[in-house]
């Protein structure tokens, strides 16, 4: 409440003031094209996200030839469904089986396959996940609700160079009658990072 008794929005935080400062200075110098910020924001909020990766996974579940191509060349096979570009121009797809579980991390920064998964969730970018997934993956996966049988092999992929990884989860049981679109609806972001199984 202000001294006048009206409701006012909270004053901007320090970080908001810093962002606004840089935005204003760059705009003054003609470096911020009209609509650019809104455009980029809308694309990542509406068009680029894990629903894209889910379509890739569902296609691989219903089409064995596609799955073979996907595992042999992730980039071109994902492009068949119309996905590609920044942080997705060199894709490797790794397949979960009854014996092997795959999980993806970026210990040095936050590399993530944007075209198929969108922008990474906060926990993927924060220190605990990046520090621990390469050191004690079985324990961390269990803590995250993904308890694996003791004999299941774990393959951790640290995205430290140019390749970005997508995990191909196993198709859940009792889904025989489902359409490709229905199957895509079962595929979660976490199952394609490898911190969950379906």
């Amino acid at each position: 409440m202000s001294e006048h008794g009206h409701h006012h929005p909270a004053p901007p935080s320090a970080i908001e003031r810093r962002v606004a400062a840089l935005e204003a200075l760059l705009t003054e110098r003609g470096l911020v094209p009209d609509g650019f910020i809104e455009d980029v924001t809308r694309r990542y909020e509406a068009e680029i996200g894990p629903m894209n990766g889910a379509r890739v996974v569902a296609r691989a579940w219903v089409d064995p030839d596609y799955k073979m191509r996907l595992l042999a060349n992730g980039t071109t096979s994902i492009a068949e469904l119309g996905f590609g570009g920044s942080e997705g121009s060199n894709m490797v797809v790794v397949e979960n089986t009854d014996a092997v579980h795959n999980v993806v991390v970026c210990t040095l920064c936050s590399c993530y396959p944007w075209p198929v998964l969108g922008l990474p969730p906060s926990w993927y970018k924060d220190p605990p996940y990046r520090a621990r997934m390469v050191r004690e993956p079985r324990k961390l996966l269990a803590e995250m609700g993904c308890e694996l049988p003791a004999e299941m092999e774990i393959q951790v992929w640290d995205s430290s160079a140019e390749v970005r990884y997508l995990v191909l989860p196993q198709r859940p049981g009792e889904t025989d009658g489902m359409t490709e679109a229905e199957l895509a609806g079962l595929v979660t972001r976490d199952s394609m990072i490898g911190v969950a199984r379906l």
Partner: protein, 208 residues
């Protein structure tokens, strides 16, 4: 550089707080910060190496206590100042307070990057050891694999070496590899059936 961003294997960070879904941007400033970095990186023609290094040079305390998008904002402002688009004084005046930037580059620019390497020195199945060294500039070779031995499982494309492109206009391209390490080789803790794959440039590797 052996700095705070190189987190693989560090201990004491506690639990991962996750939720199955979250908004792409929690607040509008995050989206703006992200877009501004894209614009600055484009305006100053920053390579991927230079961009990542501008985050890695953050004060370690600031790095650990700020979110990903604050890292991006800090990188955008740092690159904008270093390339003469804005000054620190202008930023602080416009923000009405302090505007912490990343620390200075301490590595010398690479003047002669040497010839490109077009043929992979290693093949799938080869044993390789990661060089044990501590460069003063940017590198994509995580500390936790240095000096460790692994096996090449994939030969990938030929790419610009980040350690060079981060420090000036010189460029050298080399093959990259995916190298598989047994977790016990990395941590000496008896873990079984756990493997960690790290993707590495050719010059990070030597024959064991």
């Amino acid at each position: 550089m052996d700095r705070i961003h190189d987190l693989g294997g560090m201990q004491g960070f506690g639990t991962v707080v996750s939720s199955p879904t979250e908004p792409v941007f929690h607040e509008r400033w995050e989206a703006v910060a992200r877009a501004l970095l894209m614009l600055v990186a484009d305006a100053v023609q920053a390579s991927g190496g230079e961009f990542r290094h501008s985050i890695e040079r953050m004060d370690p305390g600031h790095y650990l206590t700020s979110s990903y998008y604050e890292h991006w904002l800090t990188a955008a402002a740092t690159l904008a100042v270093e390339h003469g688009l804005v000054t620190t004084a202008e930023l602080e005046e416009a923000a009405g307070g302090p505007f912490p930037l990343s620390g200075p580059v301490t590595a010398e620019p690479v003047l002669d990057a040497g010839p490109d390497l077009s043929e992979p020195r290693f093949a799938v199945g080869d044993l390789v050891r990661v060089r044990e060294w501590h460069p003063s500039g940017h590198t994509r070779c995580p500390r936790y694999v240095r000096g460790r031995t692994g096996i090449v499982t994939r030969v990938d494309g030929i790419y610009s070496v980040p350690d060079i492109e981060a420090h000036g206009p010189a460029r050298r391209s080399e093959p990259t590899y995916s190298v598989r390490f047994d977790a016990h080789e990395l941590w000496r803790d008896g873990q079984q059936d756990v493997f960690v794959h790290v993707d590495l440039w050719d010059s990070y590797l030597e024959r064991p």
